[in-house]
Subunit: 404 residues, 2 copies
C-alpha cells in the first residue's frame, strides 16, 4: 500500500469542487463542497450516535437506503440542526445539486457543519449549485476539503493505492473535525471515495468496522456532535472482481480503509481546537480489546490529563486515575506507565506505584508535538490506541465565544 | 430548620483543629486537620467509585466496619495514593492521632488530598499529632476547613439546627473540593458531625441517599478522583429518641443532611478550579428522575457548554447536543430551553427549535455569577438539578502545571 496524491479525487471516476456561496460572512472562506462520481457508485455511511441529529443526516439516510449514490453536497458555517425547516432545506440542497449535475436527487447525500439552531440559508446553496458543478475537476479535492473546514486549522486529506486481485485500487478522502469531537463520531465530516468494486453491504460492513477503531477512538472535548458523518462512495472503475463477501480481498480493502480513516482521525485529534500536540494513549496487556479501548479513551478524554499534557507535566497520577474511572476492570497494582516521544521514553509508574524519574528528561519528552502515553497492564492480550490532544487556553478562547 | 454558626463543631460534643505540619512547603498553609468527638459516635461514610482508591480509604473502611468512630485526621498536599508504603503511612497517621487523643486507633478515620504518586511524609503527621490535639477547640472548625483546602479558594462550612422529637439537633460540616470533581464523588472531602442519636445503619443509609442527590450531581471537570470521602459522625448528645428505622424522624434528619450536603456540594461547584460562575441545570418533565439526572449531569459536564457559559454566550445548541448524547431517552422535538439568572429569564429554544431572542438580554443574564439552564421536556414527571461551573483560562492554567 502506498500513499498517492489527490485526496478525494485520487480514485478513478471522481471529481470535486469547493467555493464560497455566502453561508459564511467571510467571502474569503469557502463554505460549499461538492463531490461527484462520473458513474453510479455503491455507497455507505455511519452517523453520530447523538439522539439529536441534524436534518441532513435524516435526508442522507433515506437517500442511502438503496446503497447507491453519485454525489455529496456539504456546507460549513451552519449545522442545519434544531432549526425550523431543516429537512426541507436539506432536500432542497440535494435537489439543487442533482439538477446541476443531471442526476436524480435521491443519488445525492447532504451534510452540514457549523452553528446549531440557525435556519440554513439554503437559497445560497441553490444559487451556487450550477457554478459549483461547473468547477468540478479531478484536482478539486483541496478546494472541497477547504470548504468543509470550520475551526480546523489544517486541511485533512489522504489517498492510498494498493493491489486487489491484480488490479490497482485507489482509496482517498477528505475530512474536517476540530471541536465537539468525541468517540462515537465527534463533529466530523469525512468523505471517502474509491474505485474498488465492492457491494454496498460489504462497504457498509467495512465502514462500520473501520470507524470503530479510528474515529471512535479519538476525543477532543468529550462532546459528541449532532452532525457527524463518515461516508464512502465506490465507483468500481478499478475493475477488480467485486467484493461481495468477507475474505482476503475484503481484508485488504479494510486495511486500506483503516489506514485512510486512521490518518484522518489522527489529523482531527492533532488539529483539535486549541491543541498544541497530538496525544496517543497506547494500552497493552488489558483483559480484552474492549477493556483496552475503554481505558485508552478514558485517559485521552480526561481534562486533567489534557491540561497536564499542555503543561508538559508528567502527572501520571491523573492517567491512573482516569483508568480507574473508565469502567473497565483491571488490577491497579499491575499497571506500568511511561511517556514517550521522539525525545525518548521515561517510565514513571511500575506496579501501580510511582517511580523516581528524571523530571528534566520527562519535560523534554512531553514538550514535543507528538506524545504517547503507554499503559501496560500485564493482565491479558487486549490492546488499543486512542488519540486526542491537549487542553489549552486557546480551546477556552475558541469556544467561549464561538457563536457571536 | 435554621442555619447556625460553628461548622463541623456546631453539634454537641465535637472539637476540631488545623495546623501546618510540613507536608506542604508553604509554612503559611495549614495542611493537617483533626476532628474529635468527646464521646463514642456512630459513623458512616461513602467513597469514590474510582477503581483506583487511595490508601487512606482502605484504612478508613476497615476502621468503620463496626460503625463507630471518634476522630478524623486529614491532610492536604499529598493524596497518599499509588505510592509505596501508603497503607502503612495511613495506619501510622491513625495511630499517632489515637495516641495523642488517648483512644483506640481503630476509632480514627484518615483522609488525604493532594498530589498522587508521591509517598506521604507521615513523619510530619506523627510529629504534629500531639500539638494538633492540644489545639482542639469548639471554635476550631475554620482551622480544620482551611487545612484540607488544596486549589480551593474558599472555605466550605455550614451547620443547621432543627427539632427532632422535641429535642434540638445540630448537623454541620466542612468540605473541600475544587478539581477532579465529577458525579460519583469528585476529589472532595466532606466531614460532617451531628449530635443526633442515630444508628450506624440508618446513618449509612441516609448518607448514601443524600450523596446521590448532592455530591453526585456536581461536576467540575469530569474526573472522578481516587480520594473522595463523605464521612459523618453522630455523637447522640442531643438526646433525641435514637433513629433506628425509616420514618418521620429519619425523614427530618435526611432533609437536614440534604441541606448541608447540598450546600457544600454547590459551594464546591462554585469554587471549581478557575470557575467564574456557578451553573445549575434544571431538568423538568423528563420520563423519570434517573433520566432527568442523566440529562442535567450531561449538560453540566459538557466542555462546550462550560466554555459558552464562560463567554456568556447563549449557545443553547450545545445544551441540546449534550442532552442528546447523555444516554437518556427523550424526544428532542419536545424540548424547551431557557437561561435564567437574577437578571431575568430568556427562552431560546421551543419544541427543539431555536427561537429568535434578545441577544443583549441573554448576554446580561449569562454574565451573572449564578446562571441556571432550564430544560423542559414535557414528557413526564422526572426532574433533577445538577451543579457545575464554567471552563475558563484559569482552569487550564491551574492544571497545566499543578504538580511542579
Amino acid at each position: 500500500m502506498k500513499e498517492v496524491p489527490g485526496g478525494v479525487t485520487a480514485a478513478k471516476g471522481f471529481r470535486a469542487a469547493g467555493m464560497h456561496c455566502g453561508i459564511r460572512k467571510n467571502t474569503e472562506k469557502k463554505d460549499l463542497a461538492l463531490i461527484f462520481s462520473d458513474v453510479p457508485c455503491s455507497a455507505a455511511a455511519v452517523y453520530t450516535t447523538n439522539l439529536v441529529k441534524a436534518s441532513p443526516l435524516y435526508v442522507t439516510m433515506r437517500h442511502l437506503e438503496n446503497g447507491a449514490l453519485r454525489a455529496v453536497i456539504a456546507n460549513s458555517g451552519n449545522a442545519n440542526a434544531c432549526a425550523p425547516g431543516g429537512e426541507d432545506a436539506a432536500l432542497r440542497a440535494c435537489a439543487a445539486a442533482a439538477a446541476a449535475l443531471g442526476i436524480a436527487k435521491e443519488d445525492v447525500a447532504v451534510a452540514s457543519t457549523g452553528v446549531i439552531g440557525v435556519p440554513l440559508p439554503v437559497g445560497a446553496i441553490e444559487d451556487a449549485a450550477k457554478p459549483l458543478a461547473a468547477k468540478l475537476s479531478e484536482s478539486g479535492s483541496d478546494d472541497a476539503a477547504e470548504a468543509i473546514m470550520t475551526t480546523d486549522l489544517t486541511k485533512k486529506s489522504i489517498a492510498v493505492s494498493f493491489s486487489l486481485g491484480g488490479k490497482t485500487v485507489t482509496l482517498g478522502g477528505i475530512a474536517k473535525g476540530s471541536g465537539m469531537i468525541h468517540p462515537n463520531m465527534g463533529t466530523m465530516l469525512s468523505f471517502l471515495t474509491t474505485d474498488a468494486r465492492i457491494s454496498a453491504d460489504m462497504l457498509q460492513a467495512a465502514l462500520r468496522e473501520s470507524a470503530r477503531v479510528t474515529y471512535n477512538r479519538i476525543s477532543v472535548d468529550g462532546d459528541t456532535s449532532t452532525n457527524d458523518m463518515n461516508l464512502i462512495m465506490a465507483s468500481g472503475l478499478a475493475g477488480n472482481a467485486e467484493i461481495t463477501e468477507p475474505g482476503a480481498d475484503y481484508g485488504v480493502f479494510l486495511a486500506a480503509l483503516n489506514r485512510v480513516n486512521g490518518f484522518l482521525a489522527r489529523e482531527m485529534a492533532r488539529d483539535g481546537e486549541g491543541a498544541t500536540k497530538l496525544i496517543t494513549c497506547r494500552v497493552t496487556g488489558a483483559g480484552d480489546t474492549l477493556a483496552a479501548e475503554r481505558l485508552a479513551k478514558s485517559v485521552i478524554a480526561s481534562s486533567l490529563v489534557k491540561t497536564a499534557m499542555f503543561g508538559a507535566d508528567a502527572n501520571w497520577g491523573r492517567v491512573l486515575c482516569a483508568m480507574g474511572y473508565s469502567g473497565a476492570a483491571f488490577d491497579p497494582a499491575g499497571v506500568s506507565i511511561s511517556f514517550a516521544s521522539d525525545s525518548g521514553e521515561v517510565q514513571v509508574c511500575q506496579n501501580g506505584m510511582g517511580l523516581a524519574f528524571d523530571e528534566v528528561k520527562a519535560k523534554e519528552i512531553l514538550t514535543k508535538s507528538e506524545v504517547t502515553i503507554i499503559c501496560s497492564l500485564g493482565q491479558g492480550g487486549g490492546e488499543a490506541e486512542a488519540f486526542g490532544c491537549d487542553l489549552s487556553y486557546d480551546y477556552v478562547k475558541i469556544n467561549g465565544d464561538y457563536r457571536t
